[in-house]
């Protein structure tokens, strides 16, 4: 036994594959990027379709109108809706063409053959693009109304295409989780966010509950979360659960925004509630057509008020 122990102690760990260094580099890249962003706020809910993306967009507009520099990270990888709501649905990053292999199940050798023999698209040839080794290490966010900087999966994929990954992701949730976590890391680290006062992160609905921790691990210094709920009892109990969940993770709950307040009846008066947003047909049209509501619209005013309260909560 002691023998084994001494053997183990004498084994020195060598990072021959230089994997550790790369992982550290990845994290440093994110840290460096996030250091330029003053406030990072999650917009989340336990339930789908309650208005997270709506709140994210309206709050971003309100903050931008207060002359803050605002970015939105659409962290809903499978159902990105921010670009549509901001009239950016036809925009794309056009990174794609290098992803040539269309078939699944990449296995070590077979995949390598396919890749090495894939025809090289002319515009992707080495040296054709700026940057070391013919590749860019960062990409500019798409600029939306009022200068809001947006990054979304929708800029990478064709509009109606569902997001599917190569490999055994469809069969093993662990892979899927790892891929999505890595993708979120790239959204944080590879987008040239620049100096921002606010980065709002629109999270996917509750079922994809592993996203908050995946994001949180990259930004433990984030300010906190806004929880969106509708007035219905179910949605509220769900939000109660997400609140507990956020708190368990160490995420501060900044406040609750009650959406569709006129449809479900208002929740009891509560200092946590930063605002109540009624159903508004003009808001619906605005989101649908991607044209922001004017500054003086009642809904814009409600969000101006929410933004004001939020500012008081932040350091």
């Amino acid at each position: 036994m002691t023998e084994l122990k001494s053997i183990l102690e004498n084994i020195t760990f060598k990072d021959d594959a230089k994997v550790q260094k790369q992982l550290v580099d990845q994290i440093l890249k994110v840290k460096h990027r996030l250091a330029q962003i003053r406030h990072k706020i999650f917009v989340m809910s336990g339930k789908g379709g309650v208005g997270k993306s709506t709140v994210t967009v309206q709050l971003a507009l309100a903050l931008a109108r207060k002359t803050f520099k605002v970015g939105i990270l659409d962290a809903d990888l499978n159902g990105p809706s921010i670009p549509h709501m901001l009239g950016l649905k036809d925009r794309g990053w056009g990174l794609g063409a290098s992803t040539l292999g269309s078939s699944g199940a990449p296995t070590g050798t077979r995949n390598s053959t396919r890749l090495s023999e894939a025809p090289i698209v002319p515009e992707l040839r080495e040296g054709a693009v700026e940057g070391a080794g013919g590749s860019r290490t960062q990409i500019d966010p798409v600029i939306g109304p009022l200068g809001i900087k947006v990054a979304s999966m929708a800029f990478l994929i064709k509009e109606t295409a569902p997001v599917r990954w190569k490999g055994p992701m469809d069969l093993t949730p662990v892979w899927l989780g790892m891929m999505e976590s890595s993708t979120l890391r790239e959204f944080l680290g590879d987008v040239a966010w620049g100096d921002l006062d606010f980065l709002l992160l629109d999270l996917p609905p509750g079922a994809a509950a592993d996203k908050p921790p995946a994001l949180y691990q990259y930004m433990p210094e984030m300010d906190g979360a806004l929880l969106v709920t509708t007035g219905s009892q179910v949605a509220q109990s769900v939000v109660e659960r997400s609140k507990q969940y956020a708190l368990d993770l160490g995420i501060r709950v900044l406040g609750v925004i009650q959406n569709l307040s006129n449809l479900f009846g208002s929740a009891a008066e509560n200092e946590e509630i930063l605002g109540r947003i009624p159903y508004d047909p003009q808001l619906a049209t605005s989101l649908d057509t991607g044209t922001p509501l004017p500054k003086h619209h009642p809904v814009s005013r409600l969000f101006e008020n929410i933004a004001g309260k939020l500012l008081k909560l932040l350091p």
């Binding site: 794309g92 990174l95 894939a118 599917r164």
Partner: protein
């Protein structure tokens, strides 16, 4: 303890056997495509890299979905190059190294299969998918790949229950 042999396992991995002439003990090590995939999913290159990774390198290379391609063009696929050189290196060392020979064999076989099936994605019938669900989760993706390899070998675009039966007799 000395190296004894290297062989192909299931068409997607290598089994490497070591043997001790004194105590007659035999050890086998099997490479694991799952781990390769894990390394891929972390966005790292084994052996380190000289240049910084391109923006969205991982997301781009792992997305199966149709990707928008408007020619803003960020990068060539960095992996493509690495692996080409691996292949060249393999060719050069053929004949000398048992690993190189086995891997070259597997590569050639995979190439042939690839050509036969035109690199098509293999589809699954509902029945076959249901049968696949009976395979224990930890090895399911592995099984899926092996069966798809079989389908490609036979030039079949689709995995059906008949092929599942064949696979069962072949692998079990």
């Amino acid at each position: 303890m000395g190296f004894q042999k290297v062989e192909e396992t299931g068409g997607i991995g290598l089994g490497i056997t070591f043997h001790c002439p004194q105590c007659q003990a035999t050890f086998s090590m099997v490479t694991n495509p799952g781990e390769t995939q894990m390394v891929q999913a972390l966005g790292v290159t084994l052996g380190g890299r000289e240049t910084q990774p391109a923006a969205f390198e991982l997301t781009q290379s792992m997305l199966k979905t149709g990707v928008r391609g408007e020619g803003l063009g960020v990068s060539k696929n960095p992996q493509a190059q690495d692996e080409k050189s691996v292949k060249d290196t393999l060719k050069e060392s053929m004949g000398k190294c048992p690993f190189a020979n086995t891997v070259a064999d597997m590569t050639a076989k995979a190439d042939a299969v690839q050509q036969k099936s035109g690199g098509q994605e293999i589809l699954w019938t509902d029945g076959a998918l249901r049968r696949l669900e009976n395979v224990p989760l930890p090895v399911r993706s592995f099984a899926k790949q092996m069966i798809e390899t079989m389908a490609r070998e036979q030039g079949k675009p689709k995995v059906d229950e008949i092929l599942m039966d064949e696979a069962k007799t072949r692998f079990m």
